[in-house]
Symmetry: C2
Subunit: 189 residues, 2 copies
């Protein structure tokens, strides 16, 4: 019988694609096996279990997203950098909703610490170098930016902003204006 050429890598990538097609929640070992035209049990040599598969997809997505962010940030500073990073998140979520959903998977601490998640935090902090913030306000601002990016993207993707004018693109750019203004005039405690 011809071999399908399964690999942890290929399974992870296919799982990510599947997530984008049918939603991250719908990614199942069975569906993945069907996609490779292979019996379900065969996947268990390459992936420990269902949770392992999901975790790998999440790590892949975090990595891809961090790569895009690093690319977008190169050579930019200030509001330019802020906008670029924000757009990376939003665009990635729109292009790859399943992958983006995967990035929200709760990882156990060690896995999270070894993931590209730390690069994301570093890049957000890097943006703040263009503004005049010192600790601990810088950390507060990092968390605020993370909240806005994540919250906005999630709500928009979940349809929370649909069915109402004005359109979301307008809100997005005005939100970035507002964040820029806020960072330039960060209030004293």
């Amino acid at each position: 019988m011809a071999r399908a050429g399964l690999t942890t890598e290929r399974l992870t990538r296919a799982g990510a694609d599947l997530a984008d097609e049918v939603g991250f929640e719908q990614v199942t070992v069975s569906a993945l096996a069907r996609g490779f035209d292979v019996k379900v049990a065969s996947l268990y040599s390459h992936v420990r279990n269902s949770h392992d598969l999901r975790t790998r997809i999440a790590l892949l997505a975090l990595e891809e997203l961090a790569d895009r962010a690093a690319d977008a940030l190169a050579g930019r500073a200030g509001k330019d950098a802020l906008t670029a990073l924000a757009n990376v998140y939003r665009d990635y979520a729109r292009e790859h909703p399943g992958r983006y959903a995967a990035t929200q998977l709760r990882l156990d601490p060690e896995t999270a610490a070894a993931s590209a998640g730390v690069r994301h935090a570093q890049m957000t902090r890097a943006i703040l170098r263009g503004y005049d913030l010192t600790e601990p306000d810088q950390t507060h601002a990092v968390r605020l930016l993370g909240s806005v990016f994540h919250g906005y993207v999630t709500l928009e993707l979940g349809g929370g902003f649909s069915h109402s004018a004005p359109d979301t693109q307008e809100t997005w750019s005005r939100t970035l204006d507002a964040l820029d203004a806020l960072l330039r005039n960060w209030p004293a405690p």
Copy 2:
């Protein structure tokens, strides 16, 4: 055989409690049946299917959350109101993580329109009456506030802010300071 006294109401409430205990994703018709010491099929007279159950839990949570918000908002305005509403979300998420997760369930448009979700939007908009914003900026601000509240609460609950100083309570109050400052000095386009 003695009757268990099942009701759509009781199932929904028990489902919400179960969600808080084991996580919304883990809420299953089977687990719910076990809790009532009843066979699984018995639930299907009271709940259409698994998705129906989840939707009901989501609607319950949205309702509870809106009630708390309305309570907290009574008699408050300006930053006082902003803080009160924000704390309602954060506290609810911390007390009832499963219920809060349920509020993120994607509802189909008609269900969403009939849900307490609209009250949430109205209350956020009400807060903005204490600030000097006109349309379309008011809508942009409503969306921004929604993004921050949702994003912050989600990240904090998911452990995104753990393992780093300063503590999240400090960030939370500084975030509210920042939002208040932003709304008072909303940038022109």
